[in-house]
Amino acid sequence: MRTIWIVAGASFKESVRDRVPYTMVVFAVLMIAASYLLSELTAGQDLKIVKDLGLAAMSTFGLVIAVFIGIGLVSKEVERKSVFGLLTKPVSRTQFILGKYLGLVTTLAVNLTVMTLAYYAVLFYMDVIATAGMRASWAAPALDPRQLVAIVLIMGQLAMVTAVALLFSTFSSPLLSALLTSGLWVAGHFNGDLRQFEQVVDQPAVAWIARALYYLLPNLAPFNVRAEVVYGLPVSASHVGFTLLYALSYSSALLVAAVAIFRRRDFK
C-alpha cells in the first residue's frame, strides 16, 4: 500500500506543477464569482442562480480536469518512456495503475475543495448582505450544508470519470481517450433512457442490447442532485449511499480492467 501512495504522491505533485488544473480552478472560481453578478440582474432568483451556476461550474471544470489529466495519466508515461524508470523499481504494474488513479483523485478532491470554498464565500457574502425579506423568499438558506451532498456526489462522479479516462489511457492515445471518455460522459447522463427503450421497441434483440448497454455504460444521472439542493428538496441518505457505492463498484471494475490490460502490455 505504501508504494501505491508514493506513486500517488508523485502523480499529485505532477498535477500540482501542471498549469492547466490551476487555470481551470481559477476559471471556475471566477465563474462562481461571476454568477453573483449575473444574479443581480434577476429579481428574486439571485440565490438560485448563484447555486445553480456555482455547482454546474464545479462539475464542469472538475470534469475537464479529470478528462484532461486522466487521458494522459498512463499513455503519457508510456509515450515518453518514463514508465521504464518506474516499472524497473520494486513497483508492480497494479501498484502503478492504482497509484496513478489515487493521485488524480486526490488532485480532483483538492481542486473541488478550493472551488467549494470559493462557492461558499460567495454564498456567505450574499447571506450577509441579504435583507430579512430576501431571506424569506429563498427556497433554502444560502449556507445550506445540504449543498455539500451535491458536491460529494460531484466528487463521486469525477472519481468514476477518472477511472474511465484511466482505462482508455492504458491502451489508446490521449486524443482517442478524450473522445471516448467524453462520449461515455454524455452517454452516462442519458443512460436512464436506455432502460425505457424496451418499452418503445418491438424487437427483443434491440431491447436486449439496450438493456445490456444500460448496465454496461456508466449511469451518471443519479449524481446530479443540483436541482434538489437548489430548491431545498430532500436528498435521501440511501440515494447518496447507493450512488457512492455504485461509483465505488463501477470505478473498481474499471480499475480491474485497466490493470488487466496494463499488465499484459509490452513496452517497446
Binding site: K13, E14, G85, P90, K268
Partner: protein, 319 residues
C-alpha cells in the same frame, strides 16, 4: 561463481504492419549465462536486439518463448527488482521534478525512509558528478546530464546486478570517462554489470566477457582474452624524411601514407623485422617518430563477425 543472469532460448517476436501484421523476430533463442561479479558487454549493431534483450530481462517486454532468470529468480520477480539497477537507452524522467526530488521518489520506492533517502540521493548524485544542478528541474537538463541522472537512479539501491542500455550515449568525453570509472568501481565491489553498447573501445576497457548479437542471434560470446587472440597484425612506423626517400619507402612497407610536416606513415607486415627497417631508414637520413605494433581489436573482431553473419544470411546459408 554462481550465475547472476541466465537466459534459455529467449525469443521475442513483434507484430509489424498495421493492415497485414506479420511477425518480426527481434530476439532468436538466446541462451546466455553471466556469472556474478562479471562486467558483460552486450555488443551488436543498431537494431540487433540489444535493447529488446534488456527489456525482456527487466520484464518491460514479455518473451514469446524461453525464460530468463536473474539472481536465481524469474525475471520480473518483485523481490529481485529490489536488488537490480537499470538505465534505459535515452532515458526520460519526470521533467517537472528536480534531480533530487526524482531520486528521492525512486529511493522511497526502494523502501528507504527518512534521512536515509536524502543520504543516498546525495551520495549517488556526487558519484555521477552532479553538483548544484541537482536542485534544477530536469526539463532544464542537457541530454548528457539526464544520462547522469539515469546512472544515479540505477545506483540508488547499491544494486547487485546493474543493467545499462548504451550508458555512454549522449555523453561528452568527460562524461564517458566518468561512467567508465563508475563501472570500474562497481566491478571492484563485485557488482555484476550487463551493458549494451556499440562503442567497442568502452567494452574493450571494461568487460571481462562479451557477447555479440546480430539480427537477434547471439553469434559469439566469451572472454575477451579468448575472443581476441591479440594477434600481431603488423607495425605502424612514422618517419620524418625528405621527398627523395619516398620512392624507397614503398619497397620497405605495405603502404605509405604521407602525413603533415613531412612525416610519412608506413604500414609494415608482421614479419617485416622493424629493427632492420628502422636501422635502414636511419642510415639513409630519416628520423624515426614512432613505432607501434598493430594488434587485433574488438572492432576488427566485431566487423568480421557481423560481416560474416550478414554474408551468410545474404547467401541463404543456414536459413
Amino acid at each position: 561463481m554462481s550465475a547472476a543472469i541466465e537466459t534459455e532460448g529467449l525469443t521475442k517476436d513483434f507484430s509489424v504492419g498495421f493492415w497485414r501484421p506479420r511477425p518480426y523476430r527481434a530476439l532468436d533463442h538466446l541462451t546466455l549465462t553471466v556469472e556474478a561479479g562479471e562486467v558483460f558487454g552486450f555488443l551488436g549493431p543498431n537494431g540487433a536486439g540489444k535493447s529488446t534483450m534488456l527489456k525482456l530481462l527487466m520484464q518491460l517486454l514479455y518473451p514469446t518463448s524461453g525464460e530468463a532468470r536473474i539472481l536465481g529468480r524469474p525475471a520480473g520477480d518483485a523481490a529481485v527488482r529490489q536488488r537490480l539497477g537499470f538505465l534505459a537507452e535515452n532515458p526520460c524522467y519526470y521533467d517537472y521534478l528536480t534531480a533530487e526530488e526524482m531520486l528521492a521518489y525512486f529511493a522511497r520506492l526502494f523502501g528507504y525512509r527518512g534521512a536515509e533517502v536524502g543520504t543516498r540521493v546525495a551520495r549517488v548524485l556526487d558519484e555521477v558528478g552532479i553538483g548544484k544542478e541537482r536542485r534544477l528541474r530536469l526539463r532544464q537538463f542537457s541530454k548528457g546530464m539526464i544520462q547522469r541522472v539515469g546512472m544515479a537512479q540505477a545506483l540508488l539501491n547499491d544494486p547487485e546486478v546493474l543493467f545499462l542500455d548504451e550508458p555512454m550515449s549522449g555523453l561528452d568525453p568527460l562524461g564517458r570517462r566518468h561512467v567508465r570509472d563508475v563501472i570500474l568501481a562497481l566491478r571492484a565491489k563485485g557488482c555484476t554489470v550487463f551493458f549494451s553498447s556499440h562503442i567497442l573501445s568502452d567494452a574493450e576497457t571494461l568487460c571481462s566477457r562479451v557477447g555479440v548479437l546480430v539480427q537477434g542471434k547471439l553469434v559469439a560470446s566469451g572472454p575477451l582474452s579468448e575472443i581476441l587472440a591479440f594477434e600481431l597484425k603488423g607495425w605502424e612506423l612514422v618517419v620524418g624524411c625528405g621527398p627523395q626517400l619516398h620512392a624507397e619507402l614503398a619497397t620497405l612497407a605495405r603502404t605509405v601514407t604521407p602525413l603533415s610536416d613531412g612525416h610519412v606513415l608506413l604500414h609494415l607486415a608482421p614479419d617485416a623485422e622493424p629493427d632492420r627497417v628502422v636501422g635502414e631508414l636511419t642510415r639513409r637520413g630519416a628520423h624515426i617518430v614512432s613505432l607501434n605494433p598493430v594488434r587485433e581489436t574488438l572492432e576488427d573482431y566485431f566487423v568480421q563477425v557481423v560481416g560474416a553473419t550478414a554474408d551468410r544470411d545474404a547467401s541463404g546459408v543456414g536459413a
